[in-house]
């Protein structure tokens, strides 16, 4: 062993021990001949490449090692068997060709047969144990395959560990150039500009996601063409002449037709030639764009006309110079940030004038950082579930161990060695664990599909998630680990059977039982405690979900259809846009069954998509009191906006047609802005200043949750769209009793009639938009509820089974007690008290654990604190209630013990 390495934890020694364990897969021959060489090589390899590596690398290394050793070990054993078969033949029928080690193999085989027979004799026990483990291992494997695919699998790019994501979401083109010129710790830096463009020339005009990328983008990510070519140096002209299709786009738009390459299409009216199609396996770097671009265009970052420091449009990735560390890169970027804040303040300073920092994080972190915490929390939860299943099986085995004590004692008396008896018990546990693991792995394949179906679409990298070899290796490891975990206690018991006591006829020793009882009670307490942790987590998430549902959104999402129209990157004059909007609305209103319809730059829950201008924000001031608010969001709307949404008017009036010509501008403000600017006084009729504009407040409405319910409290005001037709997009909402399948196409044809160049997109209902915001909390709640309820059922079953068993064991004792005058009620109370004590202690331990772990939950909670007392009290009540229910039946059974039967046998 490598004791020569210092340090508190001799990790290589641990690793070597583990490796030696895996080595048992190989034939005894190989092991005896090469063991030292193998271990020396392993030591070199581990110390040089794995010991100081990160957790991810370690996990992958061990999964790979476990898998390849199992595979090669089997081959080796098969070879050895073939070789020994030849040897035996050579030495003839009378020769002793048998290897001396074979005796051990025979022992193991006979133990194996014995163990299987023992289990088959007790099918209920075996099936219960296997079932519980399958549940635990299946759930754990499902979640692990998610974690493996999303968090642990390396990104599919060359030198991916050197790829970094730079900057606060988006930066300007001049910034990218300045960074490239100065950041010597990066040998490559590329930018991506994701946008929506209108494509024509392939049927109906439609909005397609496009990505404009700088020169080295494709080489950096190792992209290859599937057909044609990718971008070359000559393609980077001021107005792009060429484009590369994504594989998905090629399939969707062109049906995979090769003649797509060479065709010309129009993007926002610019003709571009398709020169190639990306390879199918190319994975869009999700940190750089949330969408799936269908057309990729060259962006010449050096073009003089693009040097606009105020347009924060690019996301940037860079590759570290070989040998440079992330810390060095961070320091260098901090220096660059300082300098740029002075040289090019626009886009490089924060609102208080300080330099805008340039975060540098690995591309993997940038891609999956947001889901890492929640995913690990879910993995933690499922591990608890597995532990509960394990303790249940351990308890079952211990209970059975009592019954088997005589058998084991007999075998010991007949000369079986202690290690052999312990091995026998452990072997049984391993068989149960492996059977459970195999079933669990099967369940994981199904479970993963179910899981993917309810996963929110915001989870990145779902394409890389499947049950593969590392995942199966993980399931195998977990099975063996759990087998050893729950088998060790009974195995240790098997090692020291008390021959004297156990062999005495009819003996049910009081002391032996008590010792065993205390161990089993400890396991039950652990089980209850783990369940409490899961219940608290589930309770908190459920609370969050209920609160999210109950939040007053300030509008009525039912029976409303919303859709977006894009005017493209070269939008028409403002008056044209306003005219277009009113034409569309007039025709929609002419449809029978349409109650109201409105247009606005922003309808609730529609903002925040990357690359779209969400809103028009600025500072509002009260000219007299001097009260001011930054980041007030102005929303240009048409007259019926409030009625269509069902927003509540608090004071004054809504906007009307006549306000279009009013001077100063007439506006309606929301409650938050009224409170912040007018501080209690009635604002209606007063004049305030927005940027350079004088505006008059004509009404105050209740807050509308424009940006989702978890981000309340935005300052908002509304003015007529005709007076500020600002953005390149507009949304329409229609309140109607017609089903969406009718009104959707109707709206589409109305928009096409009004102007065929402006495609309608993202047609959906208001309710669906709201639902999408709830998808993530809903997912966590479902998962947590499943875990919490499963674990409650497991723990309940554990307590019930264990109490019932204990009562069965003590029937004689109860009988004697009652013969001596104890009342039935007293016996019932005794058993109940026992059950409640387990529940109570488990509850206390579990609550303490839940408080300790509550910080993990913080990021996914809304409206509840991680130590919400109501949740804790509710969990306590449920657990104690469940514990008494679970011990009631055994208690009643105990009280029915017949003193006469007992005394007769005594």
């Amino acid at each position: 062993m490598s004791a020569r390495r210092g340090g508190l934890v001799p990790a290589p020694a641990m690793a070597e021990w583990t490796y030696k364990f895996f080595l048992r897969a190989y034939s005894p021959n190989t092991r005896s001949e090469c063991c030292d060489d193998i271990l020396a090589t392993f030591r070199d390899l581990y110390v040089a490449e794995v010991y100081n590596a990160g957790l991810v690398r370690k996990v992958r290394f061990w999964c790979h090692t476990a898998f390849s050793m199992a595979r090669d070990g089997l081959t080796d054993r098969a070879d050895a068997r073939r070789a020994s078969g030849t040897r035996q033949q050579r030495s003839g029928p009378h020769g002793s060709g048998r290897d001396p080690r074979d005796g051990r193999t025979v022992t193991i085989l006979s133990d194996l047969r014995y163990a299987v027979r023992t289990l088959v004799r007790k099918p209920v026990f075996a099936l219960t144990a296997v079932g519980m483990l399958a549940l635990g291992i299946g759930a754990t494997t499902t979640i692990f395959s998610l974690v493996d695919g999303v968090l642990l699998t390396a990104l599919p790019y060359p030198d991916q560990h050197r790829l970094m994501f730079l900057g606060d979401p988006a930066i300007s083109i001049p910034n990218l150039n300045a960074w490239r010129d100065n950041a010597t710790s990066f040998d490559e830096m590329v930018g991506l500009w994701g946008r929506d463009q209108i494509a024509t020339g392939t049927g109906d005009a439609e909005v397609v996601p496009t990505a404009w990328v700088t020169r080295d983008f494709f080489p950096l990510f190792g992209a290859r063409p599937s057909v044609g070519r990718l971008l070359t140096e000559d393609d980077f002209t001021l107005t792009p002449q060429v484009t590369v299709l994504s594989y998905g786009g090629w399939q969707r738009i062109w049906g995979g037709d090769r003649s797509a390459v060479g065709s010309t299409i129009n993007l926002d009216g610019n003709p571009v030639v398709i020169v190639g199609v990306l390879d199918r396996v190319f994975e869009v770097p999700e940190a750089m764009t949330e969408r799936r671009p269908e057309y990729w265009l060259p962006l010449d970052a050096r073009a003089p006309s693009l040097q606009l420091p105020g347009r924060l449009i690019l996301t940037v990735a860079g590759r570290l110079v070989g040998g440079a560390t992330v810390e060095q890169a961070r320091e260098q970027m901090a220096t660059i940030a300082q300098r740029l804040a002075v040289e090019m303040p626009q886009g490089n300073t924060r609102r208080d004038g300080s330099p805008r920092p340039i975060p540098v994080v690995s591309l993997l972190d940038a891609t999956v950082g947001a889901v890492r915490g929640p995913m690990l929390a879910v993995l933690g939860a499922v591990t608890l579930l597995l532990l509960i299943a394990c303790s249940n099986v351990a308890n079952l085995l211990l209970a059975r161990g009592t019954e088997r004590e005589r058998e084991l004692a007999l075998r010991a008396a007949l000369g079986a060695s202690r290690s052999r008896l312990a091995g026998q018990v452990l072997l049984e546990s391993l068989i149960i664990a492996l059977a459970g693991g195999a079933l669990g792995a099967l369940a994981a394949v199904g479970g993963l599909d179910a899981m993917k179906a309810i996963l929110p679409s915001a989870v990145p990298r779902l394409d890389t998630v499947h049950v593969d070899l590392p995942v199966l290796a993980f399931a195998l490891l977990v099975s063996v680990g759990t087998g050893i975990l729950f088998g060790s206690a009974p195995a240790l018991r098997g090692m020291r059977p008390d021959l004297n006591v156990a062999l005495r006829e009819g003996s049910l020793s009081a002391t032996g039982t008590r010792r065993r009882m205390s161990l089993r009670n400890a396991i039950l307490v652990t089980e209850v405690a783990l369940t409490v942790v899961l219940l608290v987590g589930g309770g908190l998430l459920f609370n969050t979900f209920v609160r999210l549902m109950a939040v007053d959104k300030g509008f009525d999402p039912d029976n409303t259809l919303v859709a977006r129209v894009s005017f493209g990157t070269r939008p028409p004059e403002g008056t044209q846009k306003a005219l277009f909007a009113s034409q569309v609305l007039d025709r929609v209103r002419a449809t029978p069954e349409v109650r109201t319809a409105a247009a606005a730059v922003l309808f609730p829950f529609g903002a925040g998509r990357e690359g779209t201008m969400c809103c028009w924000a600025g500072t509002v001031e009260h000219p007299e009191t001097g009260a001011s608010q930054d980041w007030v969001i102005a929303n240009p709307v048409t007259v019926d906006y409030f009625v269509t949404l069902g927003a509540e008017l608090l004071r004054g009036r809504f906007l009307s047609e006549s306000d279009a010509t009013g001077d100063p501008l007439r506006v309606v403000i929301n409650e938050t802005l009224a409170r912040n600017i007018f501080a209690g006084t009635d604002g209606v009729g007063q004049t305030i200043r927005f940027r350079e504009l004088e505006v008059m407040v004509v009404g105050i409405v209740a807050d509308v949750a424009n940006f989702g319910v978890t981000r309340p409290g935005f300052n908002n005001f509304y003015l007529l769209y005709e007076q500020a037709p600002i953005t390149s997009e507009i949304e329409f909402a229609v309140r109607t009793d017609l089903p969406m399948s009718v009104i959707g196409p109707r709206l589409r044809s109305i928009v096409r009639e009004a102007n065929p160049a402006y495609p309608l997109q993202e047609i959906t209902t208001m309710a669906a938009r709201v639902g999408q915001y709830r998808a993530v909390p809903k997912f966590y709640t479902i998962i947590a509820a499943i875990f919490a309820l499963t674990s409650l059922a497991l723990a309940l079953g554990g307590v019930y089974g264990s109490m019932l068993y204990a009562v069965g064991q003590r029937t004689r004792e109860f009988g004697i007690r009652m013969a001596l005058g104890a009342r039935a009620a007293r016996v019932t109370r005794m058993v109940l008290r026992n059950g409640l004590a387990i529940g109570g202690i488990g509850l206390a331990v579990g609550l303490a654990g839940a408080v300790a772990l509550s910080r993990i939950m913080e990021s996914v909670l809304f409206g509840v604190t991680p130590t919400d007392p109501i949740t804790y009290v509710a969990v306590g009540t449920v657990v104690l209630g469940a514990a008494s229910v679970a011990s009631l039946v055994p208690a009643l059974k105990a009280s029915r013990a017949d003193p006469m039967t007992t005394l007769r046998t005594e």
Binding site: T30, C34, I38, L39, T41, D44, A48
Partner: protein, 126 residues
Amino acid sequence: MERYVAHPDESAVESFLPLNPNDYLILFSLTDQERHGYGLVKHIGEVSGGTVTLDPANLHRTLKRMVKQGLIIDAQVKATGETGHERRRYYAVTKLGRQVAAAEATRMRQLTRRAEAHRLISRSGA
């Protein structure tokens, strides 16, 4: 099997072909110098561009077999490590091993040329 060591003739070389890729990589790695176990793992990893990672147990199993086949010999045991207490077995390629590796390389070259002739791969090797 010992006859291969005694009479490395052409038919003996031929009988090893086609060579198992791992065997070839081991022989190839030993052509320029003697190496120990981890030295082989590392060199093979580099030569194969990281696509082949040999597990120590499987490596030594293979080495043991190749020694028996007469393709390599365990040349010497050297002391390594800071204190010199660690011992490592070094392997070297035999004459037969070298011939077999060369024959395998020739075989692969012929395959490559055929692939080029059928335009499966371009002549530049891209």
